[in-house]
């Protein structure tokens, strides 16, 4: 066990800090697309977008430790995300690198790094819920094309995506995992319609996507027919160390501490309230546990021994934290919690985050059955 960084790693950290000192505007322009594009170009020039992708495909060829350092430094300064096409960088690109044809790599990878594409992912379907593998969306091969009929739901960002990375059932006669295939489909394909779903804040953050005979060439298939489940499970295994989530939680904790410093409870400063102080400490404990557990996962990943429980432990800790943070925020706001506002909306938004990709109870089943060896229900 050694938490020291090598001199080379320390130098890399200094390089990032110097870059941020030189280039990160203060204050940051909020939601300015021109600035974000310019920022992406600067990061691209450093090869920090797709930092751990192979250099031959435009990535940085970096290792996981440096990637961790890069993320940590960037988020400590609240710099914009490393790249513009989040889904493309996190799930789709690595899957294409692992399973894609030369043509698919040429077509998609650089576009993802440059932020010219914008991917969404189509896994969930209505009435399928947590039991992902029972998906029904059909693709039938006709000559050189797949013809797709069916529906996806909870498709984040589909309303401004350029492509969808989706799972379809190509063979309903074999076992549910075997009949699934992965396709890379442009959203402009005729036969695709999008219907936004408003979330409880009234924002359209996800969608239903309908496929009514949409046709896509067989060359848009990623991996072999019937291998889609494997391709996607591999993609989901990327980025599962939980480092990014922990970083995000650390920022929330900062925000809530600032709020606690200025808030009053029962006529005295909120920080004089023992319970408020200890709840903040409790959050600090859980955030740091998440961060360090992420580092342990990272070590496992470097050593080629992922435990398989990374996502579950992360999501459970995150669920607890999001709830506690939301409640403390609202309690600190007092009667102002009844109003609309950014803090108030964030205190509801976590409900979507925590449910995404399997409820906490599903994660508990996974741990109990796969790790503790308890019988299936």
């Amino acid at each position: 066990m050694d938490f020291n960084f090598t001199p080379e790693e320390q130098a890399f950290r200094e390089e990032i800090r110097a870059f941020l000192d030189a280039h990160l505007p203060d204050p940051m322009p909020e939601d300015d697309p021109d600035f974000l594009r310019l920022w992406n170009e600067k990061l691209r020039a450093k090869r920090w977008v797709g930092f751990n992708w192979p250099r031959e495909w435009g990535g940085g060829g970096g290792d996981l430790i440096r990637q961790f350092i890069l993320k940590e430094e960037m988020s400590a300064r609240r710099a914009p995300a490393l790249g513009l096409d989040f889904m493309g960088l996190t799930w789709v690109g690595p899957a294409i690198i692992a399973h894609g044809t030369k043509e698919q790599k040429a077509e998609h990878l650089e576009a993802i790094l440059d932020g010219r594409s914008h991917w969404c992912t189509g896994y969930s379907e209505p009435d399928v819920g947590s039991d992902l593998a029972s998906l029904q969306c059909r693709a039938v091969r006709e000559g050189d094309e797949y013809v797709i009929h069916g529906q996806k739901i909870w498709t984040t960002s589909a309303h401004f995506a350029s492509h969808i990375f989706m799972l379809v059932r190509t063979d309903p006669t074999v076992s549910k995992y075997k009949g699934i295939t992965c396709l890379l489909v442009p959203m402009t394909t005729p036969g695709i319609t999008i219907s936004p779903i408003e979330n409880l804040s009234g924002k359209a953050s996800f969608n239903q996507v309908f496929f009514d005979g949409a046709r896509t060439p067989v060359s848009n298939r990623l991996g072999a027919e019937g291998e889609g489940w494997k391709v996607v499970m591999g993609a989901l295994a990327n980025e599962r160390s939980g480092i990014s989530e922990a970083t995000e939680m650390l920022q929330h904790l900062d925000d809530i501490r600032s709020l606690a410093k200025r808030a009053r409870r029962g006529g005295r400063p909120a920080l004089e309230d023992d319970r408020v102080r200890r709840r903040l400490s409790e959050m600090e404990i859980r955030v740091e546990a998440m961060r360090l557990t992420g580092l342990r996962h990272l070590t496992d990943q470097i050593n080629g021994k992922p435990s398989g429980s990374e996502t579950a432990i992360n999501k459970l800790q995150r669920g607890i934290l999001e709830f506690e943070m939301s409640e403390l925020t609202l309690e600190l706001l007092g009667s102002a919690a009844q109003h609309q506002g950014e803090l108030q909306h964030e205190a509801l938004a976590w409900h979507g985050t925590v449910i995404g990709g399997g409820s906490p109870n599903i994660q508990r089943n996974i741990i109990a059955e796969r790790i503790l060896g308890l019988p299936k229900d």
Partner: protein
């Protein structure tokens, strides 16, 4: 000793349910949410004709002359269906006038409240957000006869549709007694309550957008508003009256919150029966059913505290502070947890605006700070029980 509802209270519940089914189903709730005050004068008038609005007002003033246990029955039902209405606000304004108003003031307002032609509300809180006499710092300029108010009252429920505000403020004279629950907070002047009409000169209302759009509140600006002797609620001890109003508010919010918690639980139980995953309804899994059972235990427990508190308003005034705090403290945290868990048990659809469960979640966020949150009431209980022992 009888801890059950009467047959008449059963009829009352049925009548309110029927009214709400007919006149304020969820589609109507969602329509009203989009209106500026989340209030329909027609619906309100009809509700008054049905008898629920004037329920607590004495028969001499056009009401039904019933008690707080009856009122709890109504509030459980308006809570269950999330009916947008100034029912609690008006009941508290009426209580203030009944307790401390002159015959003329009663004559002026109570019949109008009962028939649904006027709406009242409390304007107690200020920027300090302290739900008690210690939060009232607004001091009137006074010539001995008329109190002139310059300042703001915050978090005023139903501020936009109210016709009259019960405003708490302080006179320039120092009070003999230390003020409120906490002595020595440095708040000067004797507490006073006054009636301010919406259309009085110097009154301005700024609405604030609500997270729970079935509810509205706003800031009341008082710019040289004059409160003469005829507008002061002078017939009783203002400290005691204010304390009663806030406790009655806690009990009313607990009743509406309990109804809403039961509504959320019922929706989620139904969802757990209908939603099939991994080959069976999710309600079969203990992870779901045990959580729902715990919610039920909480709602039943809140009922016990609430009913006693409501009965105490009419029958045992000395017990009101303790039971108001017992009930509201339980409600504040349990309803919060119920709102969150019901949304989570719904899975992804719980996060959509299409499903109603999120409306209950938002209501739980509204109910928590109203008249003091859980810690406020736990602190108060500790003070009460240390005093008693």
């Amino acid at each position: 000793m009888n801890f059950g509802f009467t047959e008449e209270q059963g009829f009352l519940r049925d009548a309110v349910r029927k009214f709400l089914d007919d006149r304020c189903p969820m589609a109507e709730v969602r329509r009203l949410m989009k209106t500026p005050n989340a209030h329909s004068p027609e619906l309100w008038k009809a509700f008054a004709e049905q008898g629920s609005v004037g329920l607590l007002i004495p028969e001499a003033y056009g009401g039904a002359g019933l008690g707080w246990v009856d009122f709890v029955v109504v509030l459980e039902e308006t809570g269950r269906t999330l009916m947008p209405s100034p029912l609690v606000s008006t009941a508290l304004a009426a209580l203030a006038i009944r307790e401390a108003g002159s015959p003329a003031q009663k004559e002026r307002w109570l019949p109008r409240f009962a028939e649904g032609s006027a709406i009242g509300t409390l304007a107690v809180l200020e920027a300090s957000d302290l739900p008690g006499a210690e939060g009232v710092a607004l001091v009137a300029d006074s010539d001995g006869e008329v109190d002139v108010l310059h300042g703001e009252k915050c978090f005023v429920a139903d501020a936009g549709c109210a016709d009259v505000y019960v405003v708490a403020y302080r006179s320039t004279e120092r009070s003999a007694e230390p003020s409120g629950d906490r002595a020595g907070t440095g708040v000067g002047g004797a507490l006073r309550l006054g009636l301010v009409a919406r259309d009085a000169p110097g009154v301005r209302v700024a609405l604030v957008p609500s997270l729970d759009e079935t509810r509205r509140s706003g800031t009341l600006s008082l710019d040289g508003v004059r409160i003469g002797p005829d507008a002061r609620l002078a017939a009783a001890d203002p400290e005691a009256t204010l304390a009663l109003l806030l406790d009655a508010g806690s009990i009313a919010v607990t009743a509406e919150g309990l109804g809403a918690a039961e509504g959320a639980l019922a929706l989620t139980v139904q969802y757990a029966k209908d939603r099939v995953q991994f080959g069976s309804p999710i309600g079969r899994f203990q992870g779901v059913k045990h959580r729902l059972a715990d919610m039920w235990v909480d709602t039943e427990s809140i009922k016990s505290l609430l009913y006693y508190g409501a009965w105490a308003i009419d029958e045992r005034r000395d017990a009101v502070p303790r039971y108001a705090s017992l009930a509201k403290a339980y409600l504040a945290d349990a309803f919060t947890r119920i709102g969150v868990d019901c949304v989570q048990l719904h899975g992804a659809v719980g996060y959509t605006i299409e499903y109603d469960i999120q409306l209950y979640l938002k209501r739980s966020k509204w109910a928590r700070p109203m008249f003091g949150d859980g810690d406020h009431h736990r602190d108060r209980l500790a003070r009460l029980s240390m005093g008693n022992r």
